[in-house]
């Protein structure tokens, strides 16, 4: 099936600029720290645990309190409501008391009339604590039996027997590191007391509803007494899904204690030390395969470093399991997922949400099988791809109904000239002893929907004012991904209006309640559909109103180019709106959407957790300096499936940005903790996200020309996370270059990120005597 995409007419399908682009470039776009401060505003700064694990004995705050400008401290005893955050695991104190669980855990807040004084005061607080033994890696925690949740074992077939029968067997282990979100706008909240004990809190959050819930819990209030607002975030990437809540709770606790507005904006170092990161994983695998490289059996153990609390680790690890197949049919498979509790920052959501780790494992296995057999890795990947009629059921029992993997890979391989370049690179490597090149083409199949089925719902409000202008509100948050632009395009399209007629207002818990996090790539699918349904209701009412006058059927009335067109007459939108108002027609509507078809049993990990899959593939060429281990990505070709694009420019932006972020995860972004569990890389001077110079010289993106086969808004597909995993092509290309440097056909043991040192070690250089 190949649904041709018609040319765009109307607001959807156009590469319109981001709705805030003009405000961004003129410095007018306000972030929370830019809001004018209310008189009397205080500033808070966190007091951090110096120990990874310890017993808190006391605090000496005399020096801090003596600092001019300091108004006081906030400690656990100042919490009027629940002292644990209302997470499902109930294992995360709002402020540490008695036991310190990681270095960087917040014990309290110093509050002062200005931010600098608050920061100084926080540092002056002396913490008396007694160290306890700390678990600092998933492997150590696993050995100690220390978990945040029970393990999950997804098993299909008979792995042991299939392994025993397989003509070839390989085993390996490797690690993938944590990743810091490094949103450019650090975590920030601004709590403002309102009348009658109510609160208005500005929070840079991907989930204002959860922030509201957490504040109400800590203050012992009803949710209806707390309003949380967010106009935009300066980047989120999952790092402001749960992690924004604690910041806002702390700010509100301080505001509650001192009865004044309080702003809490984390310094970058504190942000690194306090907030959670992408889960580091440890992998152990065993694979059995035939002469063609077809995987006959796979046993895979995934140990996730969840940090000190459960946070989102259960769904993250579930998603890692769901994506350990990536694009490949696994007949006999056992995946063991262990959720290890360590004394580190609580690992949290990060673009891909476990998917990248799961896929990294299976793609590593594919690369090793090819090396062992001396086959081209792309051929091995092809023989293992899911089929369309058979070999099309995932290990969790979902039938792939929309598989486009084979044609997508063929098309990309052709366009990227994979075979020609493979030959040219072999020639180059034969002739050049110092620089080795590597090439890899890897696919992505990413499941779209929150795996927690209940979260797949959304609401929106569309207001048409009497002048015909439209104000839109929905439960999603704008963090740069262009959600507000896309949803406005959807509403404009539904009403036949040009985009400037539609504005999106700030995300606000007082407008759309109980909204899910803007996460899981689902923002447009859920909120866009809800807004579309709201717009359709208004359109339907106006159509009936016009049809009554013109004596036609409502279905004959069309809305296009700011006009309302019936078989009898063509009227301006504004005129129809004004008349409808006078005739007492409701000009606003809510919209509500829940994703159909999905169901999933979290105990057996079976069902249909995903509404559909987003597909893509990337071909990356890298160069490796065998003297130093330094590497560069030279060229990247991507073919990615966004369905029928609502806004191609925004979608390409997500693909490119996700790819480069994934590249950072796998190459330069290394988080290093010392032997005491203190994070050493706590700022951009030591933690290196990609810079402009890391952009590949050639970077070609193409969109797959087919609409979503499921009934999704405008025929589009979600795009936020899937492209992140296209960067696994860089990982596999680097491993290819290492293999070519070694030339011994042996497995390439490499941990992520592939820093120069690790690459040199993989080549074997670090073990060889100097010279």
């Amino acid at each position: 099936m190949n649904i041709p995409i018609p040319p765009a007419s109307g607001a959807c399908g156009q590469s319109l600029p981001h709705e805030s682009a003009r405000a961004h470039v003129t410095g007018q776009a306000r972030f929370i720290d830019d809001l004018p401060e209310l008189a009397g505003t205080l500033h808070a700064a966190p007091i951090l645990s110096p120990l990874a694990h310890g017993r808190l004995l006391g605090l000496d705050s005399a020096a801090a309190l003596a600092l001019p400008g300091v108004v006081g401290l906030v400690l656990a005893a100042d919490i009027p409501g629940a002292r644990l955050l209302p997470t499902s695991a109930r294992d995360e104190p709002v402020l540490a008391q008695d036991e310190l669980l990681y270095a960087g855990q917040v014990i309290g807040l110093a509050v002062a009339t200005d931010r600098e004084t608050a920061r100084r005061a926080a540092r002056l607080v002396q913490i008396q604590a007694e160290p306890l033994p700390a678990l600092l890696s998933a492997r150590a925690a696993h050995a100690a039996g220390h978990y945040v949740a029970p393990p999950v074992h997804l098993v299909r077939g008979d792995v042991a027997a299939a392994l025993a029968r397989a003509p070839h067997r390989l085993a390996g282990q490797f690690e993938s590191g944590a990743q810091e979100h490094f949103y450019l706008e650090g975590q920030v909240a601004y709590a403002q007391p309102q009348e009658q004990g109510q609160w208005l809190v500005h929070s840079s959050s991907q989930h204002p509803g959860e922030v509201q819930h957490c504040i109400a819990s800590a203050l012992g209030l009803g949710n209806h007494e707390v309003q949380v607002v967010c106009r935009r975030l300066g980047g989120g990437f999952g790092g402001k899904e749960t992690q924004a809540s604690q910041i806002a709770v702390w700010a509100t606790l301080a505001a509650h204690k001192f009865g004044r507005p309080v702003k809490l904006r984390l310094d970058r170092k504190d942000d690194f030390l306090i907030t959670g990161k992408r889960h580091a994983f440890s992998f152990d695998w065993q694979a059995g395969f035939d002469d063609q490289g077809r995987l006959l059996a796979l046993e895979l153990t995934e140990l996730a470093d969840c940090g000190f609390s459960a946070d989102l680790s259960v769904p993250v690890c579930d998603r890692a399991v769901f994506h350990s197949d990536n694009a490949y049919f696994l007949e006999h498979v056992a995946i063991h997922s262990w959720r290890c509790r360590t004394h580190k920052q609580s690992s949290t959501a990060f673009r891909g949400f476990g998917g990248p780790q799961g896929m990294l494992a299976i793609e590593t296995v594919m690369g090793e099988i090819a090396r062992r057999l001396g086959l081209d890795p792309l051929e091995v990947r092809r023989v293992n791809l899911y089929g369309t009629q058979e070999r099309n059921v995932t290990p969790y029992g979902m039938v792939l109904e929309d598989n486009i993997l084979a044609p997508l890979i063929d098309r990309l391989a052709h366009r990227a000239r994979y075979l020609e370049r493979r030959a040219a690179i072999a020639q180059w490597n034969a002739a050049n002893p110092v620089i080795k090149r590597g090439l890899a083409l890897t696919p992505v199949k990413f499941g779209i929907s929150f795996t927690a089925t209940s979260l797949n719902q959304a609401g929106a409000l569309v207001h048409v004012y009497t002048d015909g202008s439209v104000l839109l509100n929905h439960g999603g948050t704008e963090m740069g991904q262009g959600l507000h632009t896309k949803v406005a395009q959807i509403v404009a399209q539904a009403l036949g209006l040009p985009l400037p007629c539609v504005r999106v207002s700030a995300s606000d818990t007082a407008r759309v309640p109980n909204a899910s996090a803007t996460a899981a790539s689902s923002g447009t699918d859920l909120n866009g559909r809800a807004a579309q349904l709201a717009a359709f209701q208004i359109r339907e009412r106006l159509a009936r109103f016009v049809a009554e006058q013109d004596g036609c059927a409502a279905s004959e009335v069309r809305f296009e180019q700011a006009q309302v067109v019936s078989p009898q007459a063509r009227r301006n939108w504004q005129e129809v709106v004004a008349k409808a108002y006078s005739a007492r027609i409701q000009l606003w509507s809510d919209g509500y959407y829940r994703t159909p078809k999905i169901h999933y049993d979290p105990r057996t990990l079976s069902g249909r957790p995903f509404y559909y899959f987003a597909y893509g593939a990337a071909c990356s060429e890298v160069a490796l300096d065998t003297l130093t281990g330094e590497s560069r990505v030279l060229a990247v070709d991507i073919l990615h499936d966004v369905g029928r694009s609502i806004n191609p420019a925004l979608d390409i932006g997500q693909i490119e940005g996700g790819f480069v972020q994934g590249m950072g995860w796998l190459t330069s972004e290394e988080l290093v903790w010392d032997a005491q569990g203190r994070l050493l890389t706590h700022g951009p001077s030591s933690y290196k996200i990609p810079s402009a110079g890391d952009l590949p010289a050639e970077f070609r993106i193409e969109l797959w020309p087919e609409a979503n086969r499921e009934d999704n808004v405008f025929g589009s597909k979600a795009v936020g996370e899937p492209p992140f995993m296209l960067a696994i092509s860089v990982w596999e290309a680097l491993r290819d270059a290492v293999a070519q440097a070694r030339g011994d056909g042996q497995p390439v043991r490499l941990d992520a990120p592939a820093t120069p040192e690790r690459l040199l070690r993989a080549i074997g250089g670090l073990d060889a005597p100097a010279g």
């Binding site: 981001h18 682009a21 405000a23 961004h24 470039v25 003129t26 410095g27 007018q28 776009a29 972030f31 600098e116 100084r120 450019l184 706008e185 650090g186 935009r232 300066g234 970058r268 000239r417 050049n432 110092v434 620089i435 090149r437 963090m479 740069g480 991904q481 060429e621 160069a623 300096d625 003297l627 130093t628 281990g629 030279l634 070709d637 420019a649 925004l650 490119e656 940005g657 480069v660 050493l680 890389t681 700022g683 951009p684 001077s685 030591s686 290196k688 990609p690 810079s691 402009a692 110079g693 890391d694 952009l695 010289a697 970077f699 020309p705 120069p756 040192e757 670090l766 100097a770 010279g771």
Partner: protein, 529 residues
């Protein structure tokens, strides 16, 4: 200075065609804090407060000769007082500046290009990128130069974006020249700058800037404009920190939360802002920025271009100074290994009370350091200039190279750094000087390794012997950047790289990844599925 000079001289600069005067600015107030907190200009963003992300970038223009010098700098590290007498732009100013003629357009090309290329996503880094693009526009586009991809990457090397992956931003940089031009009214701007030029002389006895109420210890930001005044100030207040570009001092404020009661800014002293090209040596004054210093070094040693571009990001190179990098004395500072290899000397000056004149001494850079961030500079002394020998040597006899290894190519701190300057004759090593960073508490000279090379043929056997010596000469640490073993090994490998490079076309592509092109052939348009 006239005695009627008011004791509290305000900080003055030009913004949006008007003079901004701010009273009672503390000496250690950063420009970012001044703009955001004191002046209510939130277009300038704080991303990292450590000079690494560029979200806080602003553009400064200063009168230079008949024209203007344009630079994008990190306002988080820059001290507010250092912009006294300059013109300043934030992203909010470009479309609101009467001195900027946008030819009827609503946006400056730097902004319009970003908008058209979809170069902003979350928008938080965007004002900083706009500023770097604006500086690029003034320095390149307005000067009639095309912006290549390499130039765009170099000019944006101090700005981080986490959303876009940079491609649309680089495209924006390259497309600015195609938009209707924007012109600065240079004459009007220079006239305004003339009005805010700081007083000709600020002797140390006058000119305190203070934010303290009467009776409290006054806090001073001293910015003498002549050498005698500077040296006198240094002698009178030896505890006061000297400040140049503040790219390290700023960190003590924003990250270390230190207060500085009194600072002595040396950047306004004309004698220190000079680059002297003399027969046999090159002198780089203490107020010369890293960018200008490297430009002077590259004239002598053009092969150092890749090394120069890996030194910090552009905004830091445009603020920080070579002498500041030396005085700061970090063991991973990148200029010192090179300068040690080149045999650089430091010209140190102090004020001699007896003769009422500057007193001078010279010290080889390799002898300057005594321990981790400790050196032999007297409490009343300052580094006035770095003097680098440039001996006339027969063609082909000078082999000078510098190498740096780091996790990221751009704007990263060295894991290790190796610089060597060899004199070769008839295939033998006549003389050798090797400077090393990242392997000891200070930048060091690898004397034992040099001994292995000197007098020997420049051959694989000699170099391999030198590598063995080099690996054993230092005891590097394992830290967040790399293990000791990696550092030791790679140090030798860099020496090996230098030998490979010296073989020229016989061993192509030995010099690493810099100039490497992808193998991928451009695909022509193909039929759609």
């Amino acid at each position: 200075m006239p005695s009627d000079q008011p004791p509290f001289s305000p900080l003055r600069f030009v913004q949006r065609g008007a003079i901004v005067a701010v009273e009672r600015v503390a000496p250690d107030r950063t420009l970012l804090a001044l703009l955001r907190e004191d002046l209510g200009q939130p277009a300038v963003k704080e991303g990292c407060n450590s000079g690494d992300c560029g979200a806080c970038s602003v553009v400064l223009a200063q009168a230079r000769g008949d024209g203007l010098r344009w630079r994008s700098v990190n306002s988080c590290l820059r001290l507010a007082h250092s912009i006294d007498g300059s013109a300043l732009w934030t992203a909010a100013d470009l479309a609101a500046d009467p001195l900027l003629d946008l030819g009827g357009a609503e946006l400056h090309p730097a902004q319009q290009a970003l908008l058209e290329q979809h170069g902003s996503q979350c928008g938080f880094c965007t004002p900083g990128f706009v500023m770097s693009l604006f500086a690029q526009y003034q320095n390149r586009v307005a000067a009639g130069q095309a912006v290549s991809r390499e130039a765009a990457q170099a000019d944006l090397s101090g700005n981080l974006c986490r959303c876009t992956g940079y491609r649309p931003i680089l495209d924006a940089a390259q497309s600015m020249a195609r938009l209707p031009p924007a012109r600065v009214d240079q004459a009007a701007l220079l006239a305004l700058l003339g009005q805010v030029a700081p007083a000709a002389k600020t002797p140390p006895s006058a000119g305190p800037a203070t934010d303290r109420p009467e009776g409290a210890q006054p806090r001073h930001y001293l910015a003498p404009t002549d050498l005698a005044g500077l040296l006198q100030a240094r002698a009178r207040w030896p505890e006061a920190r000297l400040v140049a570009g503040a790219t390290d001092l700023g960190l003590s404020i924003t990250q270390g939360l230190q207060s500085h009661e009194r600072l002595i800014d040396l950047m306004r002293v004309e004698e220190l802002a000079r680059i002297e090209h003399q027969p046999g040596w090159l002198g780089i004054g203490a107020a010369v920025t890293l960018e200008s210093a490297f430009a002077a070094l590259l004239r002598q040693w053009p092969q150092l271009i890749d090394f120069a571009q890996r030194f910090a990001g552009l905004p830091v190179r445009q603020s920080g100074t070579l002498a500041g990098n030396i005085a700061n004395g970090s063991p991973i500072g990148d200029s010192m290994p090179l300068l040690i290899a080149l045999g650089a000397q430091l010209r140190l000056l102090r004020w001699d009370q007896g003769s009422q004149a500057p007193a001078e001494r010279r010290l080889a850079l390799e002898d300057f350091y005594t321990g981790y961030r400790r050196h032999r500079l007297g409490a009343d002394e300052l580094i006035a200039a770095v003097e680098i020998p440039c001996p006339e040597r027969p063609a082909g006899s000078d082999w000078t190279r510098a190498y740096k290894v780091s996790k990221r190519v751009e704007d990263d701190i060295s894991t290790v750094c190796l610089a060597l300057s060899l004199q070769l004759e008839g295939g033998r090593v006549l003389a050798a000087a090797i400077g090393v960073g990242g392997v000891a508490a200070t930048p060091v000279r690898a004397r034992r390794t040099e001994t292995v090379l000197i007098g020997q043929p420049w051959s694989p056997a000699t170099v391999q012997q030198a590598m063995t010596t080099l690996a054993a000469e230092f005891e590097p640490l394992s830290d967040l950047r790399a293990s000791a073993g990696y550092r030791r090994l790679v140090l030798g490998r860099l020496l090996w790289r230098s030998w490979l490079e010296s073989q020229g076309s016989a061993l192509p592509h030995a010099s690493g990844l810099q100039a490497l092109e992808p193998i991928s052939p451009r695909t022509e348009t193909e039929s759609r599925l």
